[in-house]
């Protein structure tokens, strides 16, 4: 039972963290380029001009499946906890639903990792050195400092919690089915 509660709580926490991760800026830029980059929004400017990135514009759409899956995981785990508090137990269907939600979140983590790569590619262009040589000489810019807006511990939790939930829920369901089969035999 403790394992079921822990996995549900972990699923709830990871879905909340993923939603926070999606809605808040992940990188903050200061220097030649200023602004922030997030999965669902960005604001960038350099040398007094607003910058636009078609890739980052598309990212907003690509995060839609992650929003949906983490919302489903959030609702499922919250409802399961509510039901547990009311009835003091988890039904096998609830556990199966939670397992499905955890599976969706694991896939979402994969998508998120792919999208992070896209964000980092844009970041490497925007935050690159603008120093260059021209016919007048060497023009040196101060550069851009990039700060991670999300603490590393949060990133670690986001990437690991769904796996932990999935593993625990699978283990619970396996134990349950084993017990049930034994009971039938008896």
């Amino acid at each position: 039972m403790i394992m079921a509660i822990a996995s549900t709580a972990s699923l709830l926490l990871s879905s909340v963290l993923i939603i926070i991760y999606l809605t808040t800026p992940i990188y903050i830029l200061r220097g030649d380029a200023n602004g922030y980059i997030g999965f669902t929004g960005y604001y960038l400017e350099a040398f007094g001009e607003r910058l636009r990135s078609p890739v980052l514009d598309s990212l907003r759409i690509y995060t839609a499946p992650i929003y949906i899956s983490s919302s489903v995981a959030l609702i499922t785990s919250a409802l399961s906890i509510a039901k547990y508090i009311r009835r003091r137990g988890f039904s096998i269907h609830m556990l199966a639903m939670l397992q499905g939600s955890a599976g969706i979140l694991v896939i979402s983590i994969g998508i998120l990792a792919a999208l992070s790569q896209i964000v980092e590619r844009v970041l490497s262009v925007v935050a690159s050195s603008y120093s260059h040589e021209s016919s007048a000489g060497r023009i040196i810019y101060g550069g851009t400092d990039v700060y991670e807006a999300i603490p590393w511990i949060l990133r670690l939790l986001i990437s690991q919690l769904p796996y932990a939930s999935l593993l625990m829920l699978t283990a619970i369901l396996l134990i349950y089915s084993f017990k049930k089969e034994t009971a039938v035999k008896i």
Binding site: E49, S58, Y62, P65, S91, R121, A136, G137, I140
Partner: protein, 364 residues
Amino acid sequence: MGSLSSILLYVLAAMLLILSAGRFLGLPIFFSLVVSGSMAPSIQPMDLAVFRRGNYSIGDVVIWCSSPMYCVAHRVFNISFEKGFLVTKGDANPIPDQPVLLSSVRGVLILVVPRYIWIPLILLPLTLYVVTNYRRLFSGSLWAMTPIYMILLYSLGSSIYIFLIPPSPVIIEGLSIPSVEARGAWISNSSLTAELSFKNTSIVSIDSCIYYYGNSSNACSPQLLGDRLLIEIPRDVWRDMNRLGISRIDLRIVASLEWGAKLYSWNYTAFHSFEMLNISARDGVVRIYNPNPGCVDTNITAMMAERAGEPWRELRISRCLEPGEVVEIDLRGYGYAFIRIEYVLIGSKQIIQREVIRDHKPVS
């Protein structure tokens, strides 16, 4: 009510599935979800664009695909039927796309369903389904698992889609890196002028300025006049350059630019050709004019006599002729007069000798 909403939901889901796969299935009409703002304001991200297969012309919005998964819906900018390609351009993009083959065009836009219309249209039956099937969904029946696994499949499909998108180049629109270009350097009067052109920046201050000639260097304090740097070269430097036979000056600056940038300049080189002294003798008066920006070391020797056979009298002037200075030597009143002018021009000695008066008459 519950079964009706279920049927409606499944019919809607099937229709959406077929229409969204229409571009691969070869259906005459299909739709595609817009993911970028390149066609703004006419088509916004998340709008549904409906296409039909058929002919198109310049100005139409077409969808072309470079891979089964990567498609672009942009306006036709140019078509070359003979060469078999067309060029498209996003309304919000500053430049047209790369030319694509005519065979890659899948359809032409016939309708745009804005996101504020189609999203509620999808959500409404979905909400209706959840509300009417609430008990079944959470009562432990097999139905409960259906939405979860539908979303699981959707997530899987989305991830496959995202991983299949070919890596496109990262384009940053609006990025204009401030820069400075050198236009040239020249010498006029006694000043060195360097002209620069600025793009989205300007000089805030000059941190250091040095000019070089031969093996010598001097610090300078340039005047900034618009896009030009004006450096006054002292007369002594010109004098040195002339004496040493140097005609080249190199300027180097370190300047602070806007946006916190620094310019470490290359050598801005200017050449100066020193001119010979302008010497004229008219009616017994010798005029010597220095047209150079620096003073020229000059020795003038005039030899005069009243009559033939008389010993010569000498007049010696040794000085550095200032720039623009005119020296006049009046030899009128003598029966015979010669002048000898020695000066240094670009490191080499120049000697000019001239008979000015002979037998009381000026020699032309």
